[in-house]
């Protein structure tokens, strides 16, 4: 979402850091470009202006620290101000109230309220272990209530039975009553989105709020919104009173100016971001990380967190054990590919690593997208168990059969086998020691000292962040591969910095 902004800011600030001395005119010129970049990213004009003013003020008055160029100082100030504008701390959904806790979702039509409601219900159920009930208060749009019911079945969350002819406040009361009687911890109220930000809509939302007394009122807003984002956020905050903002479609290539603007105008925190169409694509919003992403510093911490939550520690341990023994067969490779897909596939993974925005484009042109992973899985799936255990028996006729089964060509199978052989050899070579390469991988993914430990400690995180900042070039800590050695599927050499050991040494920001 922040790619373009981050590329632009990166370019502007890069030029600045290369300069030795910096005149006031230099700073002014750079800030004009920053302003334009912000406006093109749909940051509201007033917010952009205030942002620039604050940066200029601080830049002029800033003490020059020894061994830091003035340009680097400006970069630091821009970064700090981005964090300030986005809100300094990550804030979570507040559930600290007597059950059932009512959470009300408001927003314009088409902002993604209903989908977000279902995602949030799933998240609260899975992560916070809460019993959740969803109710649609959208009596206007055709099939809106059915949509929530269908989503409820998909994510296995109860929805309030639909009773035709009730008004939204009546439904809200009925939902809370059902919540009390049914022993629910949380009741999510999905209100009607209207096209028009009009008085009737606001009055209805206010009525529902009075009826339900929600503990949280979340504005669901599209991150692709333009200059209107501020009007929208301000209007909802004034009439209904918001407690937080959920930003949707962050996985698009919008530049995210709406996030900066809405936070700045309402002072209300962005609590969650929607990052995909899948029902678990809802993440906490961490301003510091996003600011880092805007500046092209990557988002290593969130890569670690995501990896830790997704990767099954036990499976990892088993794979590590086998690799240490030098037995790495195609079943194991299949496992690795699946884990990578879980991490959001190639593009998801890449997006979190610093300085790869440019490489992403290269990857797209090299056709290195997620379909590659999928195809490789398909090839392995088309083999018999015996073939997976012992790929050496694969001769021409078997390859032909597998190719037909996977809908590909024998050449592709040869490629996969070659990749697997290289990986297996590497594992064998590295696997001599007590802590093989996978131990390092597991370590980096937050499994603590021994395999199967818990989350990385605060100190470890801090250290990692420090390495990332201080490193500048080659900002990836060496223990941060996150990927099996010799990253599967990438033709060695073609991609700068990919391949080789350990992990992805070349992924740092180029200086």
């Amino acid at each position: 979402m922040f790619d373009t902004l981050s590329e632009r800011l990166g370019g502007i600030l890069d030029r600045l850091t290369r300069r030795g001395a910096l005149s006031a005119a230099d700073v002014d010129e750079a800030l004009r470009e920053v302003r334009r970049a912000l406006l093109e990213a749909d940051v509201a004009l007033d917010v952009a202006r205030a942002f620039i003013d604050r940066v200029r003020e601080r830049a002029v008055g800033a003490d020059v620290i020894k061994s830091v160029t003035p340009g680097q100082m400006v970069v630091k100030i821009v970064h700090d101000e981005l964090v300030t504008t986005l809100g300094s701390d990550a804030q979570v959904i507040d559930l600290n109230a007597p059950a059932p806790v009512a959470i009300m979702m408001v927003g314009l039509q088409g902002s993604g309220k209903t989908t977000t409601t279902a995602k949030l219900a799933k998240r609260l159920t899975a992560l916070n272990n809460k019993k959740t009930l969803m109710a649609s208060l959208d009596t206007r749009r055709p099939a809106a209530m059915e949509q929530l019911a269908v989503l409820g079945r998909q994510v296995e969350i109860d929805t309030l039975p639909i009773v035709q002819g009730q008004t939204p406040p009546q439904i809200a009361r009925r939902a809370l009553e059902a919540g009390r009687l049914g022993g629910y911890d949380i009741v999510l109220l999905d209100t009607a989105g209207r096209i028009t930000l009009d008085e009737a809509m606001m009055a209805e939302a206010a009525d529902v709020k009075n009826a339900a007394q929600p503990h949280e009122v979340l504005l669901v807003a599209d991150s692709l919104t333009g200059q209107d984002a501020v009007n929208l956020a301000r209007a909802f905050d004034e009439r209904v009173g918001l407690t937080g903002i959920v930003l949707t479609r962050v996985d698009g290539d919008g530049r995210g100016g709406a996030a900066l603007s809405m936070r700045a105008v309402t002072g209300k925190p962005i609590k969650l971001i929607g990052t995909g169409e899948k029902m678990d694509a809802l993440e906490t919003f961490d301003p510091a990380r996003i600011a880092g992403r805007i500046l092209g510093m990557g988002d290593i911490v969130s890569l670690v967190e995501k990896a830790a939550a997704n990767i099954d520690a036990e499976k990892m341990q088993r794979a590590a054990e086998r690799m240490r023994k030098g037995a790495f067969d195609l079943t194991d490779l299949r496992e690795q590919l699946t884990q990578m897909q879980k991490l959001g596939g190639m593009s998801g993974l890449m997006g979190m690593i610093p300085g790869v925005a440019k490489m992403k484009a290269q990857m797209a042109s090299a056709n290195l997208d997620d379909t590659l992973l999928k195809r490789q899985c398909a090839i392995i799936d088309s083999m018999t168990p015996q073939e997976r255990r012992n790929p050496d028996i694969l001769k021409a006729s078997r390859k032909k059969r597998i190719a037909a089964g996977a809908g590909t060509t024998p050449e592709q199978i040869n490629k996969l086998l070659k990749m697997h052989r290289t990986m297996a050899d590497m594992m064998k070579a590295m696997g001599g020691g007590k802590r093989g390469p996978m131990a390092g991988l597991a370590n980096a993914l937050g499994m603590g000292g021994g395999l199967g430990g818990g989350m990385p400690s605060a100190e470890e995180m801090a250290k990692m962040a420090e390495q990332m900042k201080g490193g500048g070039a080659g900002g990836l800590p060496p223990t941060m591969p996150g990927l099996p050695p010799n990253f599967p599927g990438l033709p060695g050499g073609k991609m700068p910095g990919l391949g080789g050991l350990p992990g992805l040494p070349g992924f740092g920001k180029k200086k």
Partner: protein, 309 residues
């Protein structure tokens, strides 16, 4: 078009754009009252235009045009508005084309856009419009992904009397499109409107699916789709440029529909789109009613944006 209809359309648009005009027009009057036109004022005009989502480039160009030949002269607010309106109209005029549907039968219209832009609702409104013109309309529920999208289209079908071709949720959209075009031919329909699932333009696999939908229907009808509409939500900002670029490349978008123009300050992005892509803008949606989808008029739109009421 008859006179009263014209008037109501104008009222609707200026009503819908009222807040745009109020903020932009207000800003313009404030800054121009009893002042000389200097560079500070031109900057302010530019900023007012940026606030209306015109984008930095279009805003700068129009501000420059306002300054040309008038620098250092006293100007009245109404003049500035008229100049801004004229400049906006200049950009938009080449793009105001109605959607001609009589060039083929069945005339196949594929409706695309990102999630939540208002595709299904637009199809409902278009179906109502074409049915009212006495045309036989077929709807294809190609959004097989979003929960209840098919139901939503069925409700529109019932409202407008159009036949809806649908399958179970999760089925292949391309084969549904194939089936729909075949059905439209055999049933001798005038218009076939094909809904698609909302997709963000940077999702390769979803854009591939869209490309496949287009490819597959050509097997039944080589000229289909006769029109590919990109539906844009008026709240969208500069990202619309990227949307149009990618959707045009993949699906061959032939025209634009802008929905939800009845909210707060918005709509200026059409100027940026018109300047960059020069694609026809067919319709704008200015309300929730069935007849609130109206043909696009550059002059009215420009006047409303500039706050001339």
């Amino acid at each position: 078009m008859t006179e009263p209809e014209k008037k109501s359309w104008w009222q609707r648009l200026s009503g819908g754009l009222r807040r745009t005009s109020a903020s932009l027009g207000g800003a313009l009057s404030d800054l121009v009252t009893r002042r000389r036109l200097d560079s500070a004022m031109l900057d302010e005009i530019e900023e007012a235009l940026i606030r209306a989502d015109l984008g930095v480039t279009a805003a700068a160009r129009i501000a420059a045009a306002v300054g040309e030949g008038r620098y250092d002269k006293d100007v009245a607010p109404e003049d500035v508005k008229a100049i801004v309106a004229a400049e906006v109209e200049k950009s938009l005029a080449p793009c105001a084309h109605p959607l001609a549907t009589d060039t083929a039968k069945p005339f196949v219209i594929l409706v695309t856009g990102v999630n939540g832009s208002g595709k299904t609702t637009t199809i409902g409104k278009l179906a109502a419009k074409f049915s009212a013109e006495g045309k036989k309309v077929l709807l294809a529920a190609g959004d097989t992904f979003r929960a209840a999208a098919i139901d939503q289209l069925r409700i529109w079908g019932a409202r407008t009397g159009a036949t809806v071709i649908a399958r179970e949720p999760g089925s292949d959209a391309a084969s549904l499109a194939f089936e729909a075009v075949t059905a439209a031919k055999s049933e001798n329909a005038d218009i076939l409107l094909i809904d698609t699932a909302g997709r963000l333009q940077n999702k390769t696999e979803l854009m591939d699916e869209l490309e496949k939908i287009v490819r597959v229907m050509k097997k039944v009808e080589p000229d289909a789709p006769h029109a590919v509409l990109l539906v844009l939500d008026a709240t969208v900002g500069q990202n619309a440029l990227s949307q149009l670029e990618v959707f045009r490349k993949i699906a061959g978008v032939t025209g634009l529909v802008m929905t939800k123009l009845d909210g707060t300050a918005r709509g200026g992005i059409l100027v940026a789109l018109a300047e960059k892509f020069r694609l026809p803008i067919h319709f704008i949606g200015v309300g929730e009613g069935v007849d609130d989808l109206q043909p696009f008029s550059a002059k009215d739109f420009a006047r409303a944006v500039a706050g001339m009421e």
